[in-house]
């Protein structure tokens, strides 16, 4: 809920907009349980990234610059297959399009309109920090004092915790990856599918979700088998999600 432009006493404006380290710290600390699973996920990512031909330096750079686990995993087979960089970037974009709706959703709870802090918060908009900050906003909601932008700063703190855990564990995994055998022979490429199944399951709630899943299965497998390259993720997910939206609109 966007707060009405309050005719605030000018003396209060700076503290109202500025980042608040105490709230950032609160977001960081409360995210500790969730970053443990991020850490395990990062270890797997690091191992697979090394096996896909990336160096530790490239893994670290990717974790800090991209900071989006699902799309980083999806990019690995593409890096390994030396596909067109535009296909990698395009796939990354389509996978991360969900951030659009997450950004629109969480910023409803931001009280400050200041651009720079919002740009900082946007960098830390990750699945896990979004989940934490949304839960915080839902729980505290109206009761939050107005001496700072609590939800924004909480998001930054949670995101910072995820970033540290993700980057660190990926590099550790990358180092270990050098000592492991061929991941395809071990079946470690399946770990990505397992991880995504774990992320997917809680999201299946309505019959449209099942419809989108079925369409995605049929389209992605057909495109994967018939077409060269890796556009199947982009093509299948665009069409399937549109069908889901049309189905839901039709019903209402």
């Amino acid at each position: 809920m966007t707060r009405k432009k309050e005719k605030h006493n000018l003396h209060h404006r700076p503290s109202f907009d500025a980042l608040n380290c105490r709230i950032i710290g609160k977001g960081f600390i409360e995210s500790v349980p969730i970053i443990i699973s991020v850490f395990a996920f990062g270890l797997i990512f690091g191992v697979l990234a090394t096996k896909s031909g990336l160096t530790i330096f490239e893994i670290a750079i990717m974790c800090v610059i991209v900071l989006a686990g699902m799309s980083q995993f999806a990019a690995l087979p593409l890096f390994a297959a030396h596909v067109n960089p535009l296909a990698i970037i395009g796939t990354t974009f389509i996978i991360n399009m969900r951030h659009l709706i997450m950004g629109a959703s969480i910023s409803r709870f931001f009280s400050s309109r200041k651009v720079i802090p919002r740009m900082v918060a946007a960098y830390f908009l990750i699945d896990e920090s979004f989940a934490m900050a949304s839960a915080y906003a839902e729980k505290e909601g109206e009761r939050l004092p107005r001496d700072g932008d609590y939800v924004r700063d909480y998001l930054i703190g949670a995101g910072l915790a995820v970033t540290v855990s993700w980057s660190l564990s990926s590099c550790i995994g990358g180092i270990f990856g050098n000592f492991l055998g061929d991941p395809k022979r071990l079946g470690l490429d399946f770990a990505i599918a397992a991880a995504f199944l774990g992320l997917l399951a809680p999201q299946i709630k309505k019959k449209q979700d099942v419809l989108v899943m079925l369409v995605s299965v049929i389209l992605s497998v057909s495109l994967f088998v018939m077409l060269p390259g890796s556009w199947y993720i982009l093509g299948a997910s665009l069409v399937a999600s549109l069908i889901g939206a049309v189905g839901e609109s039709y019903e209402n």
């Binding site: 395990a40 990019a75 470690l188 397992a194 199944l197 979700d209 088998v225 999600s241």
Partner: protein
């Protein structure tokens, strides 16, 4: 230093940051056209499924829905664990367990 890989990573980062910052700076959810927010809502499910399905159903780039395909069997087993437990870590580790087991049994 492999400049092409670095540039690809920077490109991935730029498009990702764009998706994060755009609506945070411009609009809030209530003003989005309803169809657009409905569409975006289905994107995660569609993307995740589109990544998973080919790995399980066509690991060698051709459709193989037989018990000679360890990815297919491990996939079904992992789907069951994911559906019942709805727990990320449990799903990951049982998935790795299943694929190791079936790769060992089937070869």
């Amino acid at each position: 230093m492999r400049i092409e890989i670095l540039l690809t990573i920077v490109g991935m980062g730029v498009v990702t940051y764009f998706t994060r910052v755009l609506f945070m700076l411009t609009i809030d959810e209530k003003k989005l056209p309803q169809f657009f927010s409905r569409w975006l809502k289905f994107v995660p499910v569609a993307v995740l499924t589109s990544i998973i399905a080919p790995i399980i159903a066509a690991p060698e780039k051709k459709l193989d829905l037989t018990f000679a395909n360890p990815y297919f069997i491990a996939g079904i087993a992992t789907v069951i664990v994911a559906g019942i437990s709805r727990n990320l870590l449990l799903t990951v580790f049982s998935g790795i367990g299943f694929i190791l087991l079936f790769k060992y049994l089937i070869g």
